[in-house]
């Protein structure tokens, strides 16, 4: 170990939160990485926007309030879509559903993936082998093809979209959690707990989960980004319920109804920015947490910056 043992006078101030406590970890990530702050800010912005949308929406998101494909104007900042509906209101409303789909799908993926990863990593042997075989099968199924089939067979609805995304996305989470749990299982303090006679439930709950928690959260955030993207893709391909307004269906409507040939960029581009914005926000925050969890990913040791030489001050004592 190359750590220094500290001297006697290094006492913690009363009430100071030690580094490793969970809440403190996230605060530290935010403090140390600007990208985390930006990412979290974007996510919070979208969540808040979605929550207050019904109250601050300038116009209805369902009724026609202007000319078809009206360009942006002082009254309609982003113009109107093919049905004469104000874009700003539409985007806000679409954001609500998109976010719900994204979060719900992610929740499904997390519960399944986290559970599978935990059981697989902790118990190993046949549990691991069987669960991982299932994971592998699902991993190799092409996402869009699978979704197309499901939509075709069972019809396009929001619930189906959520389930499909959830089923497809849990696999990568499962693998990541499994790897972490497997390494945690070998830690000395876990072995000690077992030698003590602690049961599996206790060990998982008290020793493994707290360590895996931040990783699950990082993975959750990143999965949200993927879920949003997949929802957009599904909607765009017409596999989602067209009566629902999501960012994806907005895009789909725009393309279907010749927005491009009309030159109505305002029906497409802002929507794209919203999607991209949320995805970027999720990535920034999720990556920042992942980086903080794994300091070895840092490339400081390969840095071009070198150690510095200071001028020699004071006397040079005679060598021995």
């Amino acid at each position: 170990m190359t750590t220094l043992p500290a001297g006697e006078d290094l006492a913690l101030a009363e009430g100071e939160v030690p580094r490793l406590q969970r809440g403190g970890f996230f605060l530290r990530v935010l403090r140390e990485r600007k990208s985390a702050v930006v990412g979290l800010g974007i996510i919070i912005f979208f969540i808040v926007l979605s929550l207050v949308a019904p109250y601050i929406s300038p116009y209805s998101a369902t009724q026609q309030t202007c000319r078809v494909y009206a360009p942006p104007s002082p009254r309609h900042w982003l113009g109107c879509d093919d049905g004469g509906i104000d874009m700003v209101s539409l985007l806000m409303q679409g954001g609500r559903i998109s976010l719900v789909v994204g979060f719900a799908a992610t929740f499904v993926a997390m519960v399944i993936g986290g559970g599978v990863g935990l059981l697989s990593g902790y118990f190993g042997r046949w549990v691991d082998v069987s669960l991982m075989r299932v994971t592998d099968y699902l991993l190799v199924i092409p996402d869009l093809v699978f979704m197309t089939v499901i939509a075709a067979v069972w019809g396009a609805s929001l619930l189906h979209v959520i389930l499909v995304i959830g089923i497809l996305e849990w696999t990568s989470t499962a693998r990541i959690i499994r790897a972490q749990v497997m390494s945690l299982r070998e830690r000395v303090y876990v072995k000690r707990a077992r030698a003590l006679g602690a049961g599996n439930a206790r060990i998982i709950w008290r020793h493994i989960m707290p360590q895996v928690g931040p990783l699950i959260i990082a993975n959750t955030v990143l999965t949200i980004a993927v879920a949003i993207y997949l929802e957009t893709a599904l909607a765009f391909l017409g596999l989602e319920d067209p009566t629902v307004t999501t960012w994806g269906t907005i895009l789909e409507h725009a393309f279907e109804r010749t927005a491009i040939s009309y030159g109505a960029w305002w029906a497409i581009v802002p929507d794209g920015f919203m999607i991209a914005g949320l995805i970027v926000g999720c990535f920034l925050f999720g990556q920042a947490i992942e980086d903080a969890l794994n300091p070895r990913l840092k490339v400081a040791n390969l840095s071009v910056r070198r150690w510095r030489l200071r001028p020699l001050v004071g006397r040079g004592p005679d060598a021995i």
Binding site: P5, R19, Q21, R187, A193, A195, G197, A198, R206
Partner: protein, 348 residues
């Protein structure tokens, strides 16, 4: 002796009989199968076994410290793991307080785990970094259902910490492991082991990862514990000097067997087995003027998969004779040594 003793001190146990040794290990063997590669399986290769523990027998009495000494691969850690039943023995017997625990199911083993505690080598990894000291020392009690209330448990935690030399204990309760030095962390794990009033403590290299200036403190603590607490301690170490100073008896292991065993002083000053002699000769001495001629053996310890024929030490033995290639000597008392001193060598 009154039935009511101070918290943290061992209470008299009905099972405890002074005539029965605390721990008895008889001809213990633990063999791991070596996984056969695909080609080996196809060509009908024979299954190979790692003879980690290959016939180990010893006894440990209460209040005694036995040091299991040897190089890596000799099987000392595997022996401890087997005694703890973390690994299943292949054959042999383990008796704790006279009771055979070799084949017990995990369910029946669980209450007995109170009596059998282990201290690990790495003080930096032994404690869950998210647990404060109080939680870490309290955990064993929660697992075994000891301590009727939070306050009662807190008292037991404080008593255990004090016994482990962390005083005043109250100031340590709220600390996290990363705020403690290596020596203090090791004391916390010792306290966590003591809180259940165990009979037997297995210490796997308890000080090898600590600074030199801190080691004696922890070792003296263990020494004091076995005296006052009537604990038996099985200490695993590769450091012969530590074993010589702190242990009552030393057992030298080589390739899964004990090749020499006896009172510490006797084994160190009057070694009988050629391996012990060689090992002692290469231990560096503190005094620069004592530059003894070390008997450096060639090569390295062979793989426990391929145990040599006859005496397992003969390929490297400087004094091996023909008989050694055929005969596998057993531990026997050697004339002219202290009582209890045994060695497994036909030439001793």
């Amino acid at each position: 002796m009154t039935a009511r003793t101070a918290p943290g001190r061992p209470a008299p146990d009905e099972e405890q009989r002074s005539d029965v040794p605390l721990l008895e290990v008889e001809n213990l063997k633990t063999h791991y199968p070596v996984r056969l590669g695909l080609t080996e399986r196809a060509t009908g290769g024979r299954r190979k076994w790692v003879h980690a523990v290959d016939g180990v027998s010893f006894t440990l009495a209460r209040g005694e410290m036995l040091a299991l000494v040897g190089e890596s691969g000799c099987g000392k850690t595997s022996t401890a793991q087997t005694i703890l039943r973390m690994i299943e023995p292949t054959s042999g017997t383990i008796r704790l307080n006279g009771r055979d625990i070799t084949g017990l199911s995990e369910q029946r083993m669980r209450p007995l785990r109170r009596k059998l505690q282990m201290i690990y080598q790495d003080p930096y990894e032994s404690l869950d970094p998210r647990f404060r000291v109080q939680a870490a020392v309290e955990e064993p009690m929660l697992v075994h259902g000891i301590g009727k209330s939070r306050a009662a448990r807190r008292d037991l935690v404080i008593a255990a910490l004090e016994r482990a030399g962390l005083s005043p204990a109250e100031q340590y309760l709220g600390r996290f492991p990363h705020e403690l030095s290596g020596g203090q962390r090791q004391r916390v794990t010792i306290a966590a082991a003591l809180v259940l009033s165990p009979d037997l403590l297995l210490a796997d290299e308890p000080v090898s990862m600590l600074d030199v200036s801190v080691r004696a403190g922890v070792l003296s603590l263990l020494d004091g514990l076995r005296r006052d607490g009537d604990l038996g301690i099985l200490m695993i170490t590769h450091d012969l000097s530590t074993a010589a100073h702190f242990a009552d008896r030393i057992a030298v292991m080589y390739l899964g067997r004990i090749v020499e065993e006896g009172p510490a002083r006797s084994v160190v000053r009057n070694p009988q087995h050629p391996y012990t002699k060689a090992l002692l000769s290469v231990v560096p001495k503190r005094d620069p003027r004592e530059r003894s001629a070390p008997q450096i053996l060639q090569g390295e310890t062979p793989n426990p998969v391929d145990v040599p024929e006859g005496c397992r030490f003969q390929p490297r033995c400087p004094v091996a004779v023909d008989t050694c290639l055929r005969e596998d000597p057993a531990l026997r008392a050697i004339a002219g040594t202290a009582p209890g001193h045994q060695a497994a060598c036909i030439l001793a």
